[in-house]
Symmetry: C2
Subunit: 441 residues, 2 copies
Amino acid sequence: MEQHFPKGSKPRIVIIGGGFGGIELAKKLCSKPVEVIMLDKHNYHTFQPLLYQVATGGLEADSIAFPLRKIFKGHKNLSFRVTEVKKVDAGKNTIETTIGAIEYDYLVLATGSTSNFFGQDEIERNAMPMKSIPEALNLRSLILQNLEAAQIPGNPELKKQLMNFVVVGGGPTGVETAGALAELKKHVLRSDYPDLNINDVNIYLIEGSPELLGNMSVQSQQKSAEFLAELGVIIMNNSRVQAYDGKVLSLLDGQHIPSSTVIWSAGVKGVVLDGLNPEIIVRGNRLKVNEVNLVDGYRNIYAIGDVAAMITEEFPNGHPGVAPAAIQQGKLLAKNLLNIIQKRPLEPFEYIDKGTMATVGRNRAVVDLHKIRFQGVFAWFTWMFVHLMTLVGFRNKLVVFVNWVWSYFSYDRGTRLIIRPFIRPKDLEEISTPHDSTTNH
Amino acid sequence: MEQHFPKGSKPRIVIIGGGFGGIELAKKLCSKPVEVIMLDKHNYHTFQPLLYQVATGGLEADSIAFPLRKIFKGHKNLSFRVTEVKKVDAGKNTIETTIGAIEYDYLVLATGSTSNFFGQDEIERNAMPMKSIPEALNLRSLILQNLEAAQIPGNPELKKQLMNFVVVGGGPTGVETAGALAELKKHVLRSDYPDLNINDVNIYLIEGSPELLGNMSVQSQQKSAEFLAELGVIIMNNSRVQAYDGKVLSLLDGQHIPSSTVIWSAGVKGVVLDGLNPEIIVRGNRLKVNEVNLVDGYRNIYAIGDVAAMITEEFPNGHPGVAPAAIQQGKLLAKNLLNIIQKRPLEPFEYIDKGTMATVGRNRAVVDLHKIRFQGVFAWFTWMFVHLMTLVGFRNKLVVFVNWVWSYFSYDRGTRLIIRPFIRPKDLEEISTPHDSTTNH
């Protein structure tokens, strides 16, 4: 295949992935004496922390997505392409993509993470992941379609199955999703579905360990469980999923929950490209990197964010898979790549923990900022403020703000629309093949 | 199949379609001594006049869709169901739907219209319609995916095809779409695609008659053509499409335009259900109705809006297929149905023409209000004000307003996102089959 980008004289940095780490790195390399090519399979950056609000009808998808091309507007040393990377050929300093081969001088893997089903194929086929916008929209459709279907007279067993919603995994995403579903039930479903007995809608939150929000303070763990219980969420700690066939969820202790909607937030794994040495893949499918994010055993391949595992005494499994870690690594790597090119000494990475927070619902959130911990209304406003400020793009901030203010006063969810046909997770990729013309090259 | 809704004692009115006419009718029947069942294949009302802004990246789909269930919140005499109606059985006063048979005392067909390809199957398979939200999102993906694909080196013929955009039909939708594409090119594409020569992007507007905006004043026709020309749109009047194979558009006069994106706004036809007497279907696939919207030859089946043709001296083909006509018919029919039930005399329909307007782009619109006609900046603000006021839902008004103000000052389009995989028009319906559980009844 024809060479896609002829190499110029400037050192070329290829960044794979437009998540938090990738865009921070690219922005810091704008107008520097390097050529930067960013590749992503989407033409937008996804603000993952708010995906659950898209899935539960609180926000439009477009308000948490930001066009990647816009970030690089006016910067001549930066190119962007929508493509999928198939393979890394480290020997030839080349990657193979769906739009052709691309050479690099420095390669940065910022591919992020995807849902981890821990090898359980049946669960993967039937449970709903929520790591991308198409997945969140798909989940929104499923939730609403199940409620529509529950109104059809007949089979009471099926009705029960359609009205049970199960969230697996009690981390921040699981807690926030369960809380959002409970508020949807309380404020919206009761009036939207007068022909259903909304008390029959059950929201389960299943967590393998004894506590929710494992990474947070005991105070926050207890308070979030309290908040969820107030909203009517059925919390099942010390419970592990054994199987899910799309109809009944089976737990290891022998319990069964009939449910058509199982939302999987039980774990993530790094997205690792083909062609890399499998021996450097550590726990969580992450790539082992050194203190400057250089991938173990390579001289010009770097990894940042969720896919990177920088193993230290404090972080024996690498840093937490959160936006601040990815952003900080991206920022430092930009500096260090320029240091390398200009033959200056490198700076090792030091993680600055920005604290952790999770929102359960209206006026209910928990915040841990090192020694400072608070819960409730003020925590909730803090959570909203931090998320608004972190959201990429002024238009997005505006639209999300308008939605939140409106929802606060109306107790409503504006985007409870079945716009996208529901598609089984495993089928999603197959139909993403773009227009014929784009594949015939 | 089990009877879906057991009949109560109150007269039952079944409304098929939640467009402008259907929701106006339903709202006016809230809390009246009738039972109302509204059916729609979507769970939302679509504000069709702004679909073109969704397709061109100016608005998020969710801001012009309004959850139908929300309209009827708290009104116990009204039920809503998502379903597709397969057939009318007028003899049995029953309709067959995908969720079972439903009895009616009065049936109101408010099924609206769909793109009219005038029997040309090949065009229907390959051109893009823009009459529903999935179609508009699909078109948005296609436009952006074609530009992404145009950057791949190689075949110059293909590149040309990918960069030519053709709008067929010079009515308000066609004019507005062509104008929006031209502004997208001018303000967004040039900076978004620095590796493309954006001057090679051509926007064609093809119209069979000698003038654009056939229903408007000569002044507006001329001014809109001027506005479009200023924006660089290539207007081809007196041109008719002969064929389109997905690659090359052929005109009757022998001209050929290579293009991967042909947007079809050349006409609409009523959506007529099976089971009705085919002899009452008149021009434009509309149902012939009398002066109270009663369908010709039936005693309790009514039709309103785009699907109804109330033939008068002034309107030999029925009223124009615009929102005000549908709303006015819905409003009067609510009154007349109550008149029938309460054995009072009926009021005949009288159309109040609210005028016509079309926007071409920033500061460029044309407005005909009977004798009062104006064009330019003030017309543009009038257009925006009227559309904002007509938009259903306060949240939608807010979000659209925020988007417009932001776009006005930033010269940007916020939602240029390929969120939905592009799907050929004809395949769209096949994958809309919802979740398994909803079909196994």
